[in-house]
């Protein structure tokens, strides 16, 4: 029963995490063992090399070179308009929706250049799930919301879908709250529940990477806490990239942090280093609150 042991481990993890959170420690919160596993699979999932993205002639992000490692949370911080969301959305090519977008450099997921012409967008987006700033469940039932992704993948059998939905909802720590009325409209859930449903929906396609674009900015502190706990649980299985405005959140949940400013990557290092001993002056100004 790998599922159960996973659950137990992540629960233990989350208890530890929430204790730490209350102390607002700005130290490395990973246990030494967890840190070791992260070091062990050093091969990066997402590799960005001199990646730039332009909206027409205006640059969204410039020359980003960074590797994002699996089974960990990577936070992207920075002032508004610095390109952190743009970069995040580049990873599953959500920027394609905006007209006149053009990219340069290389952005690879699992070794494949995603801006290659041959890239299958559907596969990419199912590999790289995304959670948005505002909870955006579809105006459908809870079940249909979660089953949407698997449905796209061609899963049609009811029992299989049921299984995936249950797993995903359990994974997003929502199962116990909604198991009795999966037929209920997703819009009847509270904001925090909706966001966790969106996470479950993203998990249902069994992605490798989970992109989170300020997932807690529309939520109250309690709901935020739950999402953060959830991230702690999920990072053992998924590679999570989170964009956040909230520096304490970045410090609480992430293992590595990248500081963006004016479309450029200023600094990228272990979170503890970024927050306690940043290498660049801009980073220090930003994290200490003197700027931004």
């Amino acid at each position: 029963m790998p599922q159960e042991s996973d659950d137990m481990q992540t629960t233990a993890d989350s208890i530890r995490k929430s204790n730490i959170r209350t102390t607002l420690a700005v130290s490395n919160k990973r246990t030494p063992a967890a840190a070791m596993t992260a070091e062990a699979c050093e091969c990066a999932v997402i590799r960005s090399k001199n990646f730039s993205l332009y909206y027409g002639s205006k640059a969204g992000v410039k020359n980003i070179t960074m590797d994002i490692y699996p089974c960990s949370v990577t936070a992207i911080i920075g002032p508004s308009g610095c390109g952190k969301s743009t970069f995040l959305r580049s990873i599953n090519r959500m920027n394609d929706l905006i007209p006149h977008v053009r990219t340069e450099g290389r952005l690879a997921v699992d070794g494949h250049d995603i801006y290659d012409k041959r890239t299958n967008l559907v596969n990419l987006r199912q590999q790289v799930g995304m959670v948005f700033q505002k909870p955006n469940p579809f105006p459908k039932s809870i079940f249909d919301n979660v089953a949407y992704g698997p449905n796209l993948q061609g899963v049609r059998r009811k029992d299989e879908l049921q299984h995936i939905v249950e797993q995903s909802l359990r994974g997003a720590a929502l199962w116990d709250e909604v198991k009795d009325d999966l037929k209920k409209s997703a819009l009847a859930l509270s904001g925090g529940q909706q966001q966790r449903l969106c996470i479950a929906r993203a998990l249902a396609t069994r992605p490798r990477v989970l992109l989170m674009d300020e997932p807690c900015s529309a939520l109250d502190p309690i709901a935020t806490g739950r999402i953060e706990d959830l991230m702690g649980q999920l990072q053992s299985t998924y590679t999570i990239v989170i964009v956040t405005h909230n520096m304490q959140q970045a410090a609480r949940v992430s293992e590595r942090a990248a500081f963006f400013c004016l479309g450029e990557l200023i600094e990228y290092d272990h979170t503890s280093k970024i927050f306690s001993n940043p290498g660049k002056k801009e980073t220090e100004d930003y994290v200490t609150g003197r700027f931004g």
């Binding site: 987006r125 948005f132 955006n136 949407y148 796209l152 993948q153 819009l187 009847a188």
Partner: protein, 546 residues
């Protein structure tokens, strides 16, 4: 501005809005109230025995036993009235009497031939009856009793002639006697006027060439060809109008020189000599016994076909045709509207061409509907149909397509707004899960836009069901069979209302049917809309998660 002024202004505005709402409702009531009341007359009214007779003959529905009893009862009155009129007519209707005596002369000749009398005897009798005929006709032409009496006396001399006993010629003497009696009592100077007045009276009581009367055809008369002339007043309100015309003559008189004419009512009885007086009293006394008005709920109005341009019957085929045209029209409007809107919102980039297309759509929405009618005739009926191998004639398909083109701008705009209003993050969520743009549109955007699209459906539905001008030349007819396919033309409520209003003076006599048709149309649109609104509310609730 201090707080008190603000408060006062606030209250003033509240009062003004409240007042405008009340005003709007009053206007609605003022418009709809009378229409509804009159329209309801088509279904609920005092039906006479003639109505029940008509229902039996034309629609095969009646309580046979009761109806036969009723007809037997009323027949008595009809006969009596008919007799009274005949009695009077004998004396005054010269033309009728002249033709009658000529008939008698002819019949008598035929009788003689049949009896095979000797030739000289035949000639003698024929000459005699010719003399009688001529003197009778001469007498009819005179007005003075002093001239009439010798002529008639001359005729009556032959009354005892055995050769005439038991033959048609006996009638000569009957006529002569009754004319003599009339000539002695009635002022024959007014004979012409009496005859004219009598003709009018008979028209009101029985029927004229083309207008039905109070009692229907005379008991001894063959059934008229026109269905509506076969029955008297089928409704008590109609009967009362006819009775009013029966008792009173309307006259426009100039009371003061130079002033507008004033209408004055004179008793019709004054137009006749006193001998006809009993008729008026008789009708007055027995009006309701002759017609037996009874409260009737004619709900079959919504099912029945009509006779003689809606003189009798209901609007069944019209309702069917309206529904047919509307539904076929919606089959075109909904898919085309949604697809166009989807293209404009999801696919089109903001170029010059799209701007021109948009402008065209907005302009189309303001084009008068008659232009669409002519377009439909020219393009669908005369151009497209022969091209596709259909018969180029007006039909439901052409009408529906024309109406679809007419309402497409409305539908496109409503759908466009609805699709545009779907939150971007719904779409992003689906796309982020790997859905294609088409799949996202079909599974996420379209369901979310459904309430707004249904608003468009409601708007175009009402338009399609109610439009007249576009179907004038493309598919509407005022009479004809119930359509069997989309290639048949059809009657519709909208066109029917128009047709009754402009084309037919008969419509003046059946305002209830006219109003009934209009109210039915309004009700039909309301029902269709209610269905759509209920649907929309349910979809909306579902989307809201309630």
């Amino acid at each position: 501005m201090n707080l008190r002024i603000r408060g006062t202004l606030d209250r003033f505005f509240t009062a003004a809005t409240g007042l405008s709402v009340v005003l709007l409702m009053l206007v609605l009531v003022a418009i709809l109230g009378p229409m509804l009341y009159r329209g309801s007359n088509a279904v609920f009214f005092q039906g006479t025995v003639e109505f029940r007779k008509m229902q039996r003959d034309l629609f095969r529905r009646s309580d046979e036993a009761t109806l036969n009893a009723e007809i037997a009862e009323t027949e008595v009155f009809h006969r009596r009235i008919s007799e009274m009129i005949d009695e009077f007519r004998k004396g005054v209707d010269i033309e009728a009497m002249s033709s009658q005596v000529r008939d008698i002369h002819r019949t008598f000749g035929q009788e003689l031939r049949a009896k095979a009398v000797a030739d000289d005897r035949y000639t003698e009798l024929r000459n005699l009856t010719r003399d009688i005929r001529d003197s009778l006709e001469a007498a009819f032409a005179k007005q003075d009793i002093r001239e009439i009496r010798p002529l008639l006396d001359g005729v009556l001399l032959h009354a005892e002639n055995p050769a005439f006993q038991g033959t048609a010629a006996e009638k000569f003497f009957e006529i002569a006697r009754s004319f003599l009696a009339t000539a002695e009592t009635v002022d024959l100077n007014h004979q012409q006027e009496y005859a004219a007045a009598l003709r009018e009276l008979q028209g009101i009581l029985f029927h004229t060439q083309d207008l039905p009367g109070l009692l229907g055809p005379r008991p001894d008369e063959p059934q008229p060809l026109l269905v509506m002339l076969r029955y008297g007043a089928t409704r008590w309100d109609q009967a009362q109008q006819l009775l009013d015309r029966f008792f009173w003559v309307e006259e426009w008189v100039e009371e003061k020189p130079g002033e507008p004419l004033v209408m004055r009512k004179e008793p019709r009885a004054d137009l006749f000599p006193e001998t006809l007086g009993p008729l008026f009293a008789y009708v007055q006394e027995n009006a309701d016994k002759m017609l037996k008005p009874k409260f009737t709920a004619y709900w079959q109005f919504f099912l029945d076909d009509n006779f003689n341009s809606h003189y009798f019957g209901g609007v069944g085929p019209e309702i069917l045709g309206t529904l047919f045209i509307t539904l076929v029209g919606m089959l075109f409007v909904i898919p085309f509207g949604i697809v166009s809107a989807a293209y404009l919102v999801e696919c089109a980039t903001d170029g010059q061409v799209i701007r021109i297309i948009r402008m065209c759509i907005n302009t189309l929405a303001g084009v008068p509907s008659i232009v669409f009618g002519l377009f439909g005739l020219a393009f669908f009926v005369l151009f497209l149909f022969p091209l596709l191998g259909f018969e180029p004639k007006p039909c439901i398909l052409a009408a529906s397509m024309t109406l679809a083109v007419l309402t497409l701008p409305v539908m496109i705009r409503a759908s466009e707004e609805a699709i545009r209003a779907v939150p971007r993050h719904y779409k992003e969520g689906a796309l982020a899960l790997g859905a294609s743009r088409f799949h996202t549109f079909v599974t996420i955007t379209l369901p979310a836009a459904l309430p707004g699209i249904l608003t468009g459906v409601i708007l175009s539905l009402s338009r399609i069901a109610g439009e007249t001008a576009p179907i004038l030349f493309t598919g509407a007819v005022s009479m004809g069979d119930v359509p069997r396919s989309v290639f048949d033309p059809t009657r519709t409520l909208s066109y029917g209302s128009y047709d009754m209003a402009v084309g037919d003076r008969l419509a003046m006599m059946v305002p209830h049917n006219q109003y009934g048709m209009v109210v039915t149309l309004v009700a039909l649109i309301l029902i269709l809309n209610t269905v759509a609104i209920v649907l929309r509310t349910r979809v909306y609730r579902k989307l809201r998660g309630q």
